[in-house]
Amino acid sequence: MKSIGFAGNRGDGIKSDCYVEVEITTSGGHDIELQSRVKALYGKQITQLTERVLAHFGIEHAHLKIEDTGALDFVLAARLEAAIRMTMAVDKEFLLPQLKENTTASQKDQFRFSRLYLPGNSPKLMINAGIHQANGLILDLEDAVAPAKKVESRFLVRNALRNLHFYGAERMVRINQGEAGLEDLEYVVPHHVNLILIPKCESADDIKKVDEKIQALRQNFNIVNPVWLMPIVESAKGVMNAYEIAQASQNVVSMAIGLEDYTADLGVSRTNEGGESFFARSMVVNASRAVGIQPIDSVFSDVSDMEALAQNVKRSKALGFDGMGCIHPRQIRVIHENYAPEAAEIEKAKKIYIAFKNAEAKGLGVVSLGSKMIDPPVVKRAVTTIQLAINTGKLSENWITDPRQKIKGER
């Protein structure tokens, strides 16, 4: 254990964060040195929270230096805890009251068009992430966190899961590989994470280890909600084992491909057209469909080129993918719009849906449109298409009551 603990970020461009240094002393009580740009308005609250955290960990004497750039309470608490726990071996956690809306469960087959990656140690990017309405927000403990920041980011991600507003987005965490990843789970599973992304999967075993640990944690902490899994395949070996990965656990709801690592593994360059990854992407789509889960495409890394992104999404949809990762909020809408059904698809689906409803109302077992009989899977697809169209804003939620939508013959 160290005599001085520290955590957090400071310096140019850092906002909504704080850097904390804690030195345990033997006398003099709590000596808190606070530098903050919001001191006039929040100085008292920052000091009070700091006192509460110190008391929680039973620290009577300490010298603290806090450089604050507008950290919210959950950020400050995470930084303090991370710094304090460098100086003492305790399992105790300091938790703020859980936001009620962050306890909801997610569904196995809910839409996962877009999921926005948020670096797990950058509060600035987290705070408004939800307002951009991605289907999921990923708090990333893996590649987006520098090795030296791995530990402190766990406290921040844990607190974010409890106290950050997600505005309805599915709460996702990408854990690290291997042992570190299993340890990551202890910080997130007890706090209502909906879905865990497992990076660099190469075998069913990679999934099983994570799943077992999750189930153990769920039992220990009485977690009722499911914790879904999204393995990411990022290597040639992973691609070859895609099918076994997809069926490694019932909790796997979708499988993603990570093309940056995959193309590096092949020793080829990643192109916008994606010819080099056609095989891998098809494998992921096929394996996923074979098991009945969602195939999810890789992120598109040029955040300034929305036109190229749109083309990429169209190709992805044509290949059979159900969604894609985003690394910038501006990508979300482009992704939604291009995975969304096109106007002609929606029109057709509407007709089928109305015919189905009419048949249902009349107690008919068979659905027909004009002279054509409609099979159940076609109805199911139409329902999905309509839901997609509503979710992506292409169709009004109450389209069916809009008189212009009524078809001939209906009263």
Binding site: K15, A40, L41, Y42, L72, H132, R330
Partner: protein, 523 residues
């Protein structure tokens, strides 16, 4: 005495009625105060006293200031068309200091970070106080109560009104001009330091006792266009450089890349579209902030989609407005100041890009002005309270941060929208009470934030039109609660009861006081 005789004005704020030894009138309500009598007139001059060959050129600024009679207690005015690239204001006070002159009143149309240079002169008594905007280091200086006299902040229109009322009598106006002739005709469109126009110096040229034009591009008579007329000018001075045009562009004049701000901009445009505020031949004014600029872009998309044109933009022109003019999406730009060099070029070359002044646009003593004819006005604010009162000059910790600029004047447009984030670095923007009240809530119609839109209950028409528009409409209290749930309820900043500056309304009455900030560590 800095100030005396406090009274509670019509918006419930305590304001002094004696400021820097002179009488001022407390705010009485919108459109309530109408002075009578005649406007202030400058001293009579005779052309017999001026060279017949029209050559008014002197060897240096110092020479000109001495000939203009620079002495203790005078009022010196400058304009801010070079924004942070102004080189002349600082030189004036360097000279005054060298000559041992004291107690000057600086009356700029706005100040910028480059004017932090003047702080030693505020400390040693060369300058008594500033009437104009106080930002950055000057704002801090004034807010901490270090300025000898009281600061007075006015809008661009209010500045014109103060001059016309004789409330501020300018002794010497120094007009930095990118191009001038020896007679004093001057403009901002030509020359290597072209800054567009000189509208903020127009009143100064007409009403000051002595007028000095400073230029680095002296051309033979006539300098055309004569945005400033030589007939008002006493002396002309040639310098090596009059200003830095590249610094006209400040951080607030670039389009935002922040996804959160783009979201606000887009929501604002959607609101305007859904409520029919945008239509063929509509007009709008957008401020200089990054969000406001992106809103212009989204407006452009809507116009294009509908095959509409805007009749005019009231600007602050910049590259984006110029592109719209050149694309034919807008018919005229009525320009008050150019924010970048594309704006300067367009003003020089395009007859539909028109230079204006606070007289035509904002002047309270005009027989009407353009501001009230604008359909949609998009502005920023540092704070708004639950009654829609807004603050544009001070930060929530009490420090002066911005000038008023044309902000108060443009509020007279038909619909005023403030696109603002709900909080900035944890600090909520919607408060129970604004720190400094710069506009009464009845002037603000809509708040657009990243988490929802609040419409002033006075605008039932807009509330009605948004009922089925699928927009996230909330009450302003709901927005406030939402921000406080995220950030925590902020404490009130510790302010002393000592007044350091006052805020004028557009009619010259005092709408609020700025209180001294208690510095960190002080008790």
């Amino acid at each position: 005495m800095k100030y005396d005789k406090l009274v509670k004005n019509a918006v419930g704020r305590m304001v002094p009625t004696i400021i820097n030894g002179e009488e001022h009138i407390p705010f009485m309500g919108i459109g309530k105060y109408k002075p009578t009598g005649r406007k202030y007139g400058p001293k009579i001059s005779s052309c017999a006293d001026y060279p017949e060959d029209g050559n008014k050129v002197l060897s240096s600024l110092k020479d000109a200031l001495i000939k203009a009679g620079l002495s203790d207690g005078m009022t010196i005015s400058t304009h801010h068309h070079f924004r942070d690239g102004d080189l002349i204001a600082n030189q004036i006070f360097d000279i005054a200091h060298e000559l041992g002159i004291k107690n000057l009143r600086w009356f700029p149309s706005a100040s910028f970070p480059c004017h932090a240079h003047l702080i030693p002169y505020l400390e040693d008594g060369t300058i008594n106080h500033i009437e104009g905007s106080m930002n950055g280091a000057l704002g801090k200086f004034c807010s901490e109560g270090k300025m000898a006299g009281m600061g007075i902040l006015r809008s661009h229109g209010g500045r014109y009104q103060a001059i016309q009322d004789g409330e501020v009598k300018i002794d010497i106006a120094v007009i930095a001009a990118p191009t001038a002739d020896a007679f004093g005709n001057a403009n901002g469109v030509d020359g290597s330091a072209a800054c567009g126009l000189l509208g903020f110096a127009l009143a100064d040229s007409q009403y000051a006792d002595k007028v000095i034009v400073v230029t680095d591009n002296l051309v033979p008579f006539p300098a055309i266009p004569w945005q400033i007329q030589g007939n008002f000018v006493d002396y002309v001075v040639k310098v090596d450089r009059v200003g830095l045009p590249e610094k006209i562009i400040s951080g607030t004049t670039k389009i935002t890349k922040s996804p959160d701000r783009l979201l606000i901009a887009e929501l604002t445009a959607k609101f305007c579209e859904a409520t029919g505020l945008i239509h063929d031949r509509f007009s709008y004014q957008a401020g200089a902030g990054g969000t406001a600029l992106s809103i212009g872009n989204y407006f452009g998309d809507i116009l294009r989609k509908n095959n509409w044109k805007a009749r005019f933009i009231r600007a602050g022109s910049n590259k984006y407005a110029v592109e719209m003019l050149e694309e034919g999406l807008v018919e005229y730009i009525l320009d008050g100041q150019t924010f970048d060099l594309d704006g300067v070029r367009s003003m020089r070359e395009n007859p539909n890009h028109v230079w204006t002044s606070p007289f035509t646009s904002y002047n309270y003593h005009g027989k009407g002005n353009f501001a009230s004819m604008v359909d949609v006005v998009v502005l920023g604010a540092t704070e708004v309270d639950v009654h829609f009162n807004a603050n544009v000059v001070s930060h929530s910790d009490g420090y002066l941060l911005h000038g008023i600029g044309g902000w108060q004047n443009t509020l007279f447009g038909k619909t005023t929208i403030l696109p603002i984030p709900l909080f900035r670095d944890r600090i909520p923007v919607i408060r129970d009470e604004v720190t400094t009240l710069c506009a009464p809530g009845e002037m603000i119609d809509v708040i657009v934030s990243e988490r929802g839109i609040a419409i002033n209950p006075l605008r039932q028409d807009l509330i009605e039109k948004t009922k089925r528009a699928g927009l996230p409409i909330k009450t302003i209290e709901e927005l406030k609660d939402e921000a406080e749930e995220i950030c925590g309820v902020p404490d009130k900043p510790k302010l002393s009861d000592e007044i350091v500056a006052v805020i004028k309304w557009v009619d010259g009455t005092v709408i609020d006081s700025v209180f001294k900030v208690i510095e960190d560590g002080e008790s």
